[in-house]
Amino acid sequence: MIRRLFREIGRAPVRILTSVMALALAIGAIGVLAIPAVSTNSLRDAAEADGIPQVIVPIDDSKTFDVAGIVGSVDNVDRAEAEVLTFVEIDGRTTDVLGVDFGNQEIDIVHADVGRLPAAAGEVLVTDGLAQIGDRFEIPLPGGEASSATMSAEVVGVGGTAFWSEDDVVFTSLESAAAIAGVDGANRIVVGTTDLSADALSDTSRDLRAALTEAGITTTSLPFTVPDGHHPIEEAIDQISMLVGMLGIVAGLVALVLLASTVNTLITERTREVAVMRALGAPNRQMRRRLRRLALSIAAAAVVLGLPLGIAISNFIARMILTEFVGITPGFAVSIPVMVGSALFALLGARIVAARAARRVTARPLAEALRDRNGSPFGRRLSERLTARVRVGALLDRTAVRNGVHQRARSFAMFAQITAAVAALLIVASLATTITDYNAAEIEPVQWGSRTFVPGPGLDIDASIADSDPRSEVGIDIAGELEGWETDLVGFAPDTLMIDRTMDAGRWFAAPGEVALSTGFAERIDVEIGDEIDVELASGSHRYTVVGLHPDSGRSVFIDTSELAADMNRPGMGNVVMSLDEESPAYMTGLLSVERLTDISEDDSGRDAILMIFTAIGAIVVAVAGLAVASGLAVGVYERRHEFAAMRAVGGRRRHIFRVVVAELLPLGTLGIGAGLVAGWFGGAAIMESFEASNAVEIGYTFATGAIPAAVGAVVIGSLLLGGLMVRRVTRQPVAVTLRGAA
């Protein structure tokens, strides 16, 4: 087989190598489908190595670090550890501080990549990029306004855990963190369980809350569960994976068309050669076997080249996803199913296509096959005779159109490739416009200029603090659960100025027990105005009546702050100060974390990361499709070189031949653009729809009409350039030299 391949390569090096490269690229493109597997594998490895927690329970000060004594007897709890979470300001940036029991950790194990774990008081370990080993900083300690006590911290290591890999974190001992947070015990319990399933965890988290309440410890927000030992970001990655999968399917289709057309051409090209051998007495069966073997050996060579390419593509993009979204630099991973699948795809596909083509080639009557140079002559099929009847348009255009009909398989392949490329371009572009619009929609109702938080997970701000300031308001922002969805419960005053209260339907809450709901979320969970909803809070289940639907684009329940505080057993309190100004109000002192609207609206990093990934995948699809079109065109022009030479013999110039080539390509391009726009529209809409379904929010869909001229331009300019290049190649030789090879 190898020897035969080499012999073939020796005979027509460029054509064979192009086929191999095209197939290899097709196989490589299927590697896109391996991206999700590759990235989740890396994530799971990281999660397992670090002992990812299954349940995380934010609590008020436990006054003790012995949390195992409190929750150790709860069903399904295997191990429990105390943590202290707070924040400090380093170089003007709000940075999380996590206190853990170094050396005794089994959950969320902190490791040092450089340096060592903290051992003495005041020693800290930081996440990469935050500070250098040996750096020192002064951390202010709480103790009232007059206090000037600080803790002097020294960086002894750089590292972290998979769970915290997205954030900037300072890791230190439980005691140091407790001192910084001003608590006497833990304010967070992490739990490892025996049964990791989502259902079991949901029960466990309820039992944990009960156990804590019994011990007199308040849970300030719903426990956070991490089912199945997966990294929490995996869910987000899954959504991206679905998108990747969509584009992977486009890439697969492109690859399929490329495979079929490459193998077909490879075999049809040998019609005459096969006919000669048949004439010399070679049996048809033997010829068919030879042709199939040829196709298989080329496919095998392509697999050898294509698999590493696919592995490289999937790892490259998986790495992009993980470093952008998770901050983990993944190891090298290989998806065996995708590898085996793409190899089978190439070999089986080549075999099936080759078998069909070989049957066709050997079934041709010998005399006819010997006479014809390139496959069947024009005019045999009814479709060809019909198009020949159409006598409108310039003669050169007529030959172009008729040739397109004649070579219908190749025309279809080129059309399909252009369609795929345009669709991929538009899906990526529509993703960009949709995310941009969604981001804008997300902050559109917002009226506040800043939100100020204090350390600690509870409702620790006295609501009366803002009473005399008309430009600020104490509110609440906590997590709850509604119909199985994690939901934001947002407390406002009934007459708040901090959010635009224009409703999609109904009205803003006014009386006790009334709430407003995000429109998109309400639709997804089938809730209407007047319905009662049961919201699960850390303090238990609470029933409210929906009186209005708000154009908020998240999953939010809007409720009166004082009512929510009471329902949380902290009447008169809140956890956030909203202000119409960019700065937090002057009455807020001490350690603060300030979120500014301008920072949010200017932050495009999330969108840019998604776009970068999809641009990379889109580029692969476009490259494969472009190559496929180029190779189809090259074969088409090469096959017709004698025809073009004959045209030149009767006075045709290069531009006439260019005209014919372009006239054949442009209708395909036009149809491809049209179909690509439709496919791109529906593809993008389907992606957004499934995004909406899996998030229960309204995202909307903005089709990137702005990208249409770019797509059209790319197709037109690409066609002209390719056409020019090919025509240049076939017209380089004198007419007589080209025609000599014709007979």
């Binding site: 002559p377 024009f378 005019g379 045999r380 005779r385 020949a388 006598r391 003669l395 050169l396 007529r398 030959t399 008729r402 040739n403 004649h406 004698h642 025809e643 030479a645 004959a646 045209m647 030149r648 013999a649 009767v650 006075g651 045709g652 110039r653 290069r654 531009r655 006439h656 017209t731 004198p734 007419v735 007589a736 030299v737 025609l739 000599r740 014709a742 007979a743």
Partner: protein, 269 residues
């Protein structure tokens, strides 16, 4: 049309039967076509000197591989000589660029190939029309169609003009090719074994058609393996190993004279 810098002689009026026959239409001097270099070089045409007069019927014969097709291709302007000079119809075509040469071909020469080379996707009529269009864009569509029909009628194919090449016999295809060659009213027609793929009867028809064109002053150069046909030409050129072996015009062997370059054909006559 812009003045053609390659034109070395003033354009002649289209030859008519009463114009003296031997005004040289083709003047080749030291014409050589070689492929490759050094020891592996292949010689197609080797230092050929040749004049062919206007309105002549000239034949080229010779064994296979002797360079007949190569010489024909050079004179028809579909191949470029390696060295030497070639003037056809007053234009030096040995150094024309590709596109100029194509334009020149469209105006000046009609080519008939052994295997027809009709465009398979165009009907007989469209094939002929295309030649008119490529040669001269200024011809109006209506006139183009009329001329094509006339040309097809003159080769006896008026009723088959709508057929595609695949729907025509070999002889009919060759007649379409002749119609395509003559529809532009070229000064010169080069036919390389035009009867080679045809049976004797069709071959005969084709030959008569070509020979008849000289009556309108067209020069016809045809390459053949048929000594019978060759003998009917005004001028017979026999090739061997890329060189002209014998050259007979009006029964006189001219090859020593022409090869020596000592005498002009007018004088010889």
């Amino acid at each position: 049309m812009s003045p053609d810098p390659y034109r070395v002689a003033p354009p002649e009026p289209h030859a008519s039967p009463d114009v003296p026959r031997l005004t040289p239409l083709v003047q080749a001097h030291d014409l050589t076509r070689r492929w490759g270099r050094g020891s592996s070089a292949q010689l197609g045409v080797d230092r050929v000197d040749l004049n062919i007069g206007s309105g002549e019927l000239a034949s080229i014969v010779g064994p296979s591989g002797s360079g007949k097709s190569t010489l024909g291709a050079l004179i028809a302007g579909i191949d470029n000589p390696t060295s030497g000079s070639l003037v056809v119809d007053g234009t030096r075509i040995d150094s024309l660029s590709n596109d100029r040469l194509a334009r020149w071909r469209g105006r000046t020469v009609g080519i008939v190939f052994q295997d027809f080379h009709l465009l398979p996707t165009l009907s007989a009529e469209e094939n002929v029309e295309l030649a008119v269009q490529l040669a001269d864009r200024s011809v109006h569509r209506r006139e183009r169609r009329e001329r094509s029909r006339d040309a097809l009628a003159s080769v006896g194919l008026a009723d088959k003009r709508r057929r595609l090449p695949t729907q025509l016999s070999g002889g009919e295809q060759q007649r379409v090719a002749i119609a395509r060659a003559l529809v532009t009213r070229p000064r010169l027609i080069v036919a390389d074994e035009p009867t080679g793929s045809l049976d004797q009867a069709s071959g005969h028809v084709v030959f008569e058609l070509l020979a008849g064109l000289t009556a309108t002053g067209t020069t016809v150069l045809f390459i053949t393996h048929d000594p019978e046909l060759a003998r009917r030409a005004d001028r017979q050129i026999e090739m061997l190993d890329g060189r002209i072996a014998t050259h007979t015009a009006a029964g006189i062997d001219m090859s020593p004279l022409v090869a020596a370059g000592t005498i002009d054909e007018q004088v010889a006559r």
